[in-house]
């Protein structure tokens, strides 16, 4: 019904290439998150889908219809902007109904939809207020209300929560997720916050420098990162990406030199939560920093030139300056090609065992 397909989408401004051959599909009723650091092209992708930017080449399909050359209004989408895009001179009700008025929806239908949306979002008591009189969370809800009353099945969100404080962000993202599921919307959601992405997404597309790094479920991205970049972007704290030097190779007796005799350079990825402190064997590390987070403690160790971060449950007796021995299980090792950062499939398991 409202499947979104991008075929070979490219976008450039003069010589600057913002997007390079983007291909993906977003299934009907799916919440797809476009994730990546700033400047990676995620917002541009969203704006191309919305029709706010024109494609340099490629096609965009929404609901089996090529919309590449249609203006935003003909694409049957709603959009929520980062700064909510509320009109300061209109009150809450007028803001929510702005689109319906522009589309000349009958008055009584407008009223019905407004009431529904206002109740759904808990805005019923504020209908006559101006946006300036409301809190950040309430303004965010107005913006959501505008997307809801449009009653279209595709909703595009451009970093909708980045202006809210941490606690509110968590509440709102749950709210957005439950709304999306209740209304069965197909949603594309842009964020730079990997926690936000992991918690609400059905599928995540991680982007970097105008290209897709990986497209998959949150579990895929976490368990089997396709590139070293994905590994270091997903997870909090992120994966350690280490260059295997003698210190590390020697320190791990259970880690026979993989690729022995091979000439390719490779990188070793290990998640902080998979590193154990062992009494006798393992890599030697000097503790350089400790961050106590309550449930966990983050320990940063130095081994040779490299820093290794690990997390342990609860409080630890370790202090800065201590020498630790670090160890990890072979199945937790991710191997990446040192040249292009791609994952080396099967190599880790095969060679190590």
């Amino acid at each position: 019904m409202s499947k979104i397909i991008l075929n070979d989408v490219c976008k450039s401004w003069g010589k600057i290439e913002a997007l390079n051959n983007i291909n993906f599909e977003c299934e009907n009723g799916e919440l797809l998150v476009l994730l990546g650091p700033s400047g990676c092209g995620k917002s541009t992708t969203l704006r191309l889908i919305a029709g706010l930017e024109t494609l340099t080449s490629g096609t965009v399909e929404i609901g089996d219809r090529d919309v590449s050359n249609l203006p935003p209004v003909k694409r049957n989408i709603s959009m929520v902007f980062q700064n909510y895009a509320l009109f300061p001179h209109l009150n809450v009700g007028e803001n929510i109904l702005f689109g319906l008025k522009a589309r000349k929806v009958p008055k009584n239908e407008q009223k019905k939809r407004l009431e529904n949306a206002a109740t759904l979002l808990g805005l019923a008591d504020f209908i006559d207020r101006k946006p300036a009189q409301l809190s950040g969370g309430q303004r965010q809800r107005i913006a959501l209300g505008r997307a809801i009353v449009a009653q279209v099945s595709v909703c595009l969100m451009d970093e909708p929560l980045s202006n809210l404080d941490a606690k509110l962000r968590q509440e709102m993202r749950q709210e957005i997720r439950s709304l999306q599921q209740r209304l069965k919307m197909t949603m594309i959601y842009v964020t730079h916050d990997q926690v936000e992405a992991m918690t609400i997404a059905d599928k995540i597309i991680l982007m970097k420098e105008g290209c897709i790094e990986q497209h998959g479920t949150p579990e895929d991205l976490y368990d089997r990162p396709a590139t070293a970049f994905t590994g270091s972007f997903i997870g909090n704290p992120p994966m350690n990406i280490l260059t295997p030097d003698d210190l590390i190779l020697d320190g791990l007796p259970s880690f026979p030199t993989p690729l022995a005799g091979s000439t390719i350079r490779y990188l070793l990825g290990i998640r902080p939560e998979n590193i154990e402190i062992s009494g006798e064997s393992g890599i030697e590390g000097l503790v350089v920093a400790i961050e106590y987070l309550g449930a966990d403690t983050l320990i940063v160790c130095r081994s040779g030139e490299q820093l290794i971060t690990l997390t342990v449950k609860g409080k630890t007796g370790v202090s800065v300056g201590d020498h630790l021995r670090l160890n990890w299980k072979p199945e937790h090792i991710h191997l990446f090609n040192g040249e292009d950062g791609r994952r080396i499939e099967g190599l880790a398991g095969g060679l190590i065992s």
Partner: protein, 273 residues
């Protein structure tokens, strides 16, 4: 020491402001004094001189002030309306759309700001005369309608409007004209108010061009009417002249006193000082 310096600076500033204020106020005070007292007190001061409104009655009947007032009113309304329409459209073009030669054209518009309207007095007269509009109210307003100042001001104001609001309207299918009307204009309200004030007060007080282009009671605005009324040939009666002057400036003065706070606020909002 530092504190003292700030204190001195502040005192000097306040003193200067008061001096300027008094200097400005002086003729106004004289006008009111003279207008409300019999002719013999117009040049000498006596605290308990008898008050009278006789001067107003005489001024009102000696010259067609009601007609002048109406002319001025029609004039400023006409100019303001035309300026709003023209400047809004031009500013919208400059602020939002890309077109060939945009910067050059905008520079030309700005160039217009540097030309004193008086320089063009003769040329404008010739143009108006060719159009057959001599001695009409539109003729007084015509040279001022495509105001460069207005275009510049509104363009600046339009440029500060967040792009997201425009995009939100675009997604909802609002047309380019609709976006101007529903997004740009309401959000620039304070600029419109500020510009409107400047325009109205300027054209209410404008003298030279109306004097040149008008020649009958039917088109003369208040300022010209007042000047003719006060001209030496008609004999100088200060009480009546000041009474007429007070009548001329009263509407503006009253409006300013009543809406002072809003005026200042809208100037602050729109960034004109």
């Amino acid at each position: 020491m530092k504190l003292l310096e700030i204190g001195i600076g502040k005192t000097a500033e306040t003193l200067g402001a008061w001096m300027l204020g008094l200097l400005w106020l002086l003729p106004v005070v004289f006008a009111f004094w003279s207008a409300f007292h019999p002719a013999e007190y117009s040049t000498n001061f006596e605290l308990f001189a008898p008050l009278t409104t006789d001067n107003f009655v005489r001024a009102w009947s000696y010259a067609p002030f009601p007609r002048y007032l109406l002319n001025t009113f029609i004039l400023v309304t006409l100019i303001l309306a035309a300026q709003f329409v023209l400047c809004t459209l031009a500013a919208y073009g400059f602020a939002r759309f890309e077109f060939f030669g945009k910067n050059v054209i905008f520079a030309l518009v700005l160039l217009q700001l540097m030309i004193m309207p008086e320089i063009l007095l003769v040329e404008n007269y010739r143009t108006i005369s060719k159009m057959g509009l001599l001695d009409t109210i539109p003729a007084i307003g015509l040279p001022y309608m495509a105001s460069a100042f207005g275009i510049f001001l509104l363009r600046q104001s339009f440029k500060t409007i967040p792009k997201e609001l425009v995009e939100a309207a675009q997604v909802e299918g609002v047309s380019a004209v609709g976006i101007l009307w529903k997004v740009y204009v309401p959000l620039s309200r304070s600029t419109y108010i500020a510009y409107g004030l400047v325009s109205v007060s300027y054209h209410w007080n404008n003298f030279l061009w109306p004097l040149v282009i008008t020649s009958s009671v039917n088109s003369r605005p208040l300022t010209v009417g007042l000047a003719i009324f006060g001209a030496p040939e008609s004999g100088v009666d200060w009480s009546i002249i000041t009474a007429a002057t007070v009548m001329t400036m009263a509407p503006l003065l009253l409006a300013f006193i009543l809406f002072q706070r809003q005026f200042v606020q809208s100037f602050m909002h729109s960034g004109i000082k």
